[in-house]
């Protein structure tokens, strides 16, 4: 399939300038930061002579012109060398890789929860359009958008961890737990996952409700739905096979577009629940004013957004025959 291969290639080429712009932005922010690496190291070691500082700057390539520093910076990134976090005592790249799986688990679960509940509510709202139920769902989804996530998380902790004692309030595993097998461990992680995932899902939930509702209303009146009804299909089949299927495409697109926002959400939610992911790492970096680590997290999460959106676009082309794969 040379045409689709060419499409893949073209989208890849389009994503590259974006990646470059992110790297450039990151570098500019690094240069904007008051105090360079030499200042940081000197600050950590307590005192420093001007000669010592000069040696440090030479050692880390900070004494050469800025554009050459940028070339070095890009070379570093290509080798996944994102610098060193002196606060954490570890290379930034390693820290990020260590924390990434927890964030992926949390985000995917949250998106899944939001997808299931959001689409369901959206379908119900569209089916009962104009009724009190529709109005109630609309109000609730607006409320979901207007509530600060960290506050929802804390209130859920009060209700489910402190008052009802159903679910753990912090961390990813029970401290000092003695697991009898993998299943036991997964169950424990699952119990810890419920509250943060539900909290994070709130953000997406209201978006999904709106999209599903409007996408369904849009196709409800179209000919192919009438045809499906005329064929005598059950209402459930019409909704699922014909109407909802068309609503799924905008949902996939929006999920890709909002991925950057979900990284923002994880910073807050992981802070509330002590979830050991990238967001928590970012909060630790904020706390110790570790700009280098923050920039590393920013760079990596931006790249993830670019890659996922690339994948979404390609998936879109595969899902929807109307997307033209031009020569």
């Amino acid at each position: 399939m040379p045409t689709s291969l060419r499409y893949v290639f073209r989208r890849l080429v389009q994503a590259l300038p974006m990646a470059f712009a992110i790297v450039l932005l990151n570098f500019l922010l690094l240069k904007l930061t008051p105090g360079d690496l030499a200042d940081v190291i000197a600050g950590e070691s307590g005192s420093a002579t001007p000669e010592f500082m000069e040696n440090l700057r030479r050692l880390y390539g900070l004494d050469i012109p800025v554009h050459l520093q940028f070339v070095n910076y890009i070379q570093g990134i290509l080798h996944f060398d994102l610098g060193y976090s002196f606060r954490q005592g570890m290379p930034v790249g390693e820290l990020i890789l260590e924390r990434l799986p927890a964030t992926i688990l949390l985000s995917l679960t949250a998106i899944l929860v939001a997808l299931v509940i959001g689409v369901l509510l959206g379908v119900v709202a569209a089916r009962s359009r104009g009724s009190l139920l529709d109005e109630a769902i609309s109000v609730v989804s607006t409320m979901g958008f207007a509530t600060p996530l960290f506050w929802v998380g804390l209130m859920l902790i009060v209700l489910f961890s402190i008052e009802l004692r159903w679910l753990p309030s912090a961390g990813m595993v029970t401290v000092g737990a003695d697991y009898r097998g993998l299943w036991d461990e997964w169950l424990d992680i699952g119990r810890h996952l419920v509250l943060p995932a539900v909290t994070l899902s709130l953000f997406f939930l209201s978006i999904y409700v709106r999209i599903t509702r409007s996408a369904m209303l849009e196709v409800y009146g179209l000919d192919f739905v009438r045809t499906a009804r005329a064929k005598g299909l059950t209402e459930a089949r019409v909704v699922i096979r014909h109407v909802l299927r068309n609503a799924l495409l905008p949902i996939v697109t929006v999920t890709g577009l909002q991925l950057g926002a979900i990284f923002g959400g994880t910073v807050v939610v992981e802070t509330v629940f002590g979830w050991p992911g990238l967001g928590r790492l970012a909060q630790e970096a904020v706390f110790s004013r570790d700009v280098n680590l923050l920039l590393g997290i920013f760079l990596c999460s931006s790249f993830i957004v670019i890659v996922v959106n690339l994948a979404v676009d390609l998936l879109y082309a595969a899902l929807d025959p109307r997307v033209e794969v031009r020569q």
């Binding site: 922010l29 930061t33 209130m155 009060v158 926002a261 910073v267 904020v286 923050l294 920013f298 931006s302």
Partner: protein, 297 residues
């Protein structure tokens, strides 16, 4: 010149006309959300303006016994926090901070977004390409992280926080305005202005800009809501202006007391929710009111 006369002040005139044309049923529905939103906003503004009047002292001063529950002591209707500071006073004084940051950030985003959108839509071509690629960049990256980094670098002040929030929020406005400007650019009165020999600057300012602003009215209110939420998140993470009080930082401060005194967290969080909800409802109400395609329910 007379050719352009009917378009002057196109935005307010347009809104008014649409209001007149709105069927009674829809107007009622639209104004219900609008009414509740406006009432909420009025309440928050009233609290912000009268905070100094009712609580003239520094809200950070100790006022009574620490950890008084709301309702337990008539002097402190909303209780006191872990340092014995009056919750009601602290919350009232925080209202102004939230509104200031929210409105300042939204104003910056509007300014940049409208300028970029009009220029991209009017000139098209390379200007459009460059501006839209930049806006894509801002929409791709995790904006809260970017805001956090800017605030860490610039230092947490009300001005830097507003700047850092506003500078990430403009692309959505730019895209809205651009779409309108592309449409307006093709209209006869712009051609007429070109024929009359008007310069680009004059055409953009007098004709394209005022007629591209209608969708911004709704977006502006949602923008303030989002900015207030971002500001609350920053304060919660400990990146608020250390010289002022804010609801977000109150939630953060109350967090260790969650087990014994959850009202310290619940109350300021509820204040954020009501304020943001106010702006969201105003936006939704305006949307129902102004959007001619909104189905009559």
């Amino acid at each position: 010149m007379s050719l352009s006369a009917p378009t002057h002040g196109g935005m307010p005139g347009g809104i008014l006309q649409r209001l007149m044309r709105t069927p009674g049923l829809r107007r009622l529905r639209g104004s219900r959300a609008l009414l509740v939103g406006l009432l909420l906003l009025a309440a928050v503004v009233a609290v912000a303006l009268s905070a100094g009047l009712f609580y003239p002292g520094d809200p950070r001063d100790m006022a009574g016994p620490a950890g008084t529950w709301p309702g337990a002591d008539a002097r402190f209707p909303l209780g006191t926090d872990m340092l014995g500071r009056d919750m009601a006073a602290a919350m009232a004084h925080s209202a102004g901070t939230s509104l200031t940051v929210g409105i300042a950030a939204a104003a910056l985003a509007l300014l940049v977004g409208i300028a970029a959108g009009v220029l991209a839509g009017y000139f098209g071509g390379a200007v459009d390409d460059v501006l839209m690629r930049i806006s894509e960049l801002f929409q791709t990256m995790p904006s809260l992280l970017f805001t956090i980094i800017l605030v860490v670098i610039l230092g947490p002040t009300t001005a830097s926080i507003s700047f850092a929030i506003g500078i990430t929020a403009w692309p959505q406005i730019a895209r809205l305005v651009r779409a309108e400007a592309v449409r307006v650019r093709r209209l006869d009165y712009v051609d007429a202005a070109v024929t009359l020999g008007m310069g680009h600057g004059r055409i953009v300012l007098l004709h394209v800009l005022p007629n591209s602003l209608a969708p911004v009215v709704v977006a502006a209110s949602i923008l303030v809501a989002q900015a207030i939420l971002s500001d609350a998140s920053l304060s919660f993470l400990g990146l608020g202006d250390p010289n002022g009080m804010s609801w977000g930082s109150m939630v953060g401060a109350g967090r260790p007391m969650l087990r014994t005194a959850w009202y310290m967290t619940a109350l300021p969080g509820g204040a954020i929710f009501l304020t943001v909800m106010g702006f969201m409802l105003i936006g939704n109400g305006l949307n129902d009111l102004l959007n001619p395609r909104t189905p009559v329910r």
